[in-house]
Symmetry: none
Subunit: 414 residues, 2 copies
């Protein structure tokens, strides 16, 4: 079953709105039916273009979800274009018209002339009343395809997809010989190319699993899409491939599915009943902010010192003046003292510190812009990792913040 | 000039990632060249499908921006599909290959076998080195169209669009009879509907200017698109409309064009030769991190204390135990003492502080979740603003961080 989507609306082509409706439909389609969209076409509110797209897509696909352009205003062209694409006229659907009138009456609103427009659909369409808005959903066939038309307003779109479109697609799909299960494995500290290398041996063992890679900086994710002739078969296949990948990835693997990096670190701290304090120079609050994204972070995050200058490094993180003078603000030694100092000052189980050159200015011959020292002090001593990060200032700050949490995560898992 | 975009990547069709690259390109295309994209096609990492889409689009369009699928892994198929669509082979571009090798050497990284893949392009392509990543951009012609290929990684995509693609499109576009000038006015603290209300009277005076509104939380932007028959006419029209809008918006207007909020605040501090220190509770480092995004922020950001717990509030921000006990951690009084305490501790011109309920738990009958006290201490005393912010934890933290900078900005402009 070939599935395509068409999204219409000028705002989707002028940079005003990102198309997040499609993302929702795709995710739900895969989760509930194990089906995948083959193509998504985004077009503006242009009569000829929209009509042409409907014709082209209907010639290829079995199922088409069309969204947007069902409003009451002059730039809403979907109904007339659908009728033109099929070569039929339009008709007023009396049930839809009564529902629109009732909706307005209920809210004490005056019907304007263009509201009636929303009750019109291409002749012969099946109409489904939309309980979340005025424009009804309708279903039309064109060539060998079934086209489902829903409004683009996200609440109406999601409601109709969930309650009307997906159940109909389940019926259309009928018994299938192909079921899909997707697993997402998330890694930190591994370049995309090295991630692929690491699981190369697993790829060969599972020809029925599609291996995909995506960069979500600074994370790299591995997608496993297992295809089998039964739901259980697909789930089993995905799990067996995932198990071998987990083995191959070791500590680079930090989480799966919806796991967030800061959540994983927070969960570890909570499980160990430990706390953390942070002293940040180049990351300037990003490490603390990352940790604090998680609900309940106050259980383990005691506090942080943004020691952006030498004076605050001494005052809040207890760095010695001699250390600063002898080694410079960006150094292994200062990072170590910051981590140890903030740990002691806050009485935390762990002290984390960052100091480095975020750029664009700064850096030295041995420590150019992008150099960051990440320190983690614990009961068993202090570990410092030196990294050289590419990219601009904001990227360096972001990667360094995740890097600091990674030093902590690995220290906890050691 | 007909412009289309093609985005490739399974993650764009399985609900994992929304296509925000296209939104960026569309906005910049309109802003800088007054041009609009006619169609955007999203396809997965499927050889036949991607090749077919390139052929179809090239048959219709003059300019095509293709993004994604240029990574080093086996599911990155863009180069081979582009070559197949044109009916040519691929070749290794030596400059790109040297650049990849240099990139890895610089970072002390090991090249894996699949990294070389990124230096290969369809025969006869023009290659542009990508300073932000390994995959180069390349340009190929197919039928009457020019196809620009860029990586899908957002930082690389944006950089190449801005510095390479848009300048080439400007040349391709040549002379036009309709000139557009876009002005972007950026406001803080004004809901979109109120922003529209405030400039309503200006809208009526300038029928040749298209007024658009976009939300870029927590900022709301007003877009003025002036259309005229000469570049000067469009520029003059845009400027006259902008002048009246500036008047209407007053201090809600914080910047224009590419201005970033943190940059505007930094510029004010630098111009006044003043410094700032921050004590953060619920924002947990977000205020300091925002300020430190700007190059040279160390000139005015002395440091910050993330006082996530009562003990650190006393220790780093000098809040009195009595104040904490009497008024509670989330209170006008504690915010005031935090701002004054951190100002004194760091010896800064300004002290900023945040304390509030970011949720999902917490809050009181009088100060529910979303309540945040924002304090700004200066030479003339301390001002506290209480806000009640909707949304989830991360949204509250983000809005509170911007809110704190807004209290400072207004204090400086008073």
């Amino acid at each position: 079953m070939r599935i395509e989507t068409i999204c219409t609306g000028d705002e989707l082509l002028t940079g005003l709105t990102a198309d997040t409706n499609s993302t929702f439909f795709q995710a739900r389609l895969l989760e509930t039916l194990g089906l995948q969209v083959q193509r998504n076409t985004v077009v503006g509110d242009v009569r000829e273009e929209l009509t042409a797209v409907m014709r082209e897509v209907a010639a290829r696909a079995d199922v088409v979800l069309v969204s947007g352009g069902l409003g009451p205003t002059a730039d809403d062209l979907t109904v007339e274009c659908a009728a033109a694409a099929k070569g039929v006229g339009t008709e007023r659907n009396e049930e839809a018209w009564r529902s629109i009138q009732a909706r307005f009456a209920e809210r004490g609103l005056r019907l304007s002339a263009n509201n009636e427009k929303q009750a019109w659909v291409p002749k012969g369409s099946e109409v489904v009343i939309n309980t979340q808005g005025s424009a009804p959903m309708f279903v039309m066939s064109l060539e060998k395809a079934r086209l489902f038309f829903v409004p683009g307003v996200p609440t109406e779109y999601r409601h109709l997809v969930e309650t009307e479109v997906l159940p109909r697609l389940r019926t259309l799909r009928g018994k299938t010989q192909e079921y899909r299960v997707l697993k997402l494995l998330k890694t930190m500290g591994l370049a995309e190319s090295h991630l692929e290398e690491k699981v190369q041996s697993v790829v060969k063992v599972f020809p029925q699993v599609v291996f995909g890679y995506r960069t979500h900086p600074p994370e790299n994710h591995l997608k496993l899409l297992a295809v089998a002739s039964s739901p259980d078969g697909a789930a089993d296949l995905a799990e067996r491939a995932a198990a071998q990948c987990r083995e191959a990835l070791g500590l680079y693997l930090f989480g799966e599915g919806d796991d967030r990096y800061s959540q994983v670190v927070g969960r570890l701290l909570r499980a160990r009943k430990e706390t953390v304090a942070v002293a940040e120079s180049c990351t300037a609050g990003n490490v603390a902010a990352l940790l604090a994204q998680e609900p309940g972070a106050s259980e383990y995050l005691l506090g942080g010192a943004v020691t952006y200058q030498a004076a605050t490094k001494q005052q809040w993180a207890g760095v010695k003046a001699e250390t600063l003078e002898k080694f410079g603000e960006v150094s292994n030694e200062v990072a170590k003292e910051m981590a140890e100092g903030v740990r002691a000052a806050a009485g935390a189980s762990w002290g984390l510190a960052t100091t480095g050159w975020a750029g664009p200015k700064g850096g030295t011959a041995t420590d150019p812009v992008g150099t960051v020292y990440l320190a983690c002090a614990g009961a068993d001593g202090t570990h410092v990792r030196r990294v050289l990060l590419p990219g601009d200032r904001q990227r360096i700050q972001k990667f360094a913040a995740y890097g600091a949490l990674d030093v902590l995560r690995r220290a906890m898992l050691r």
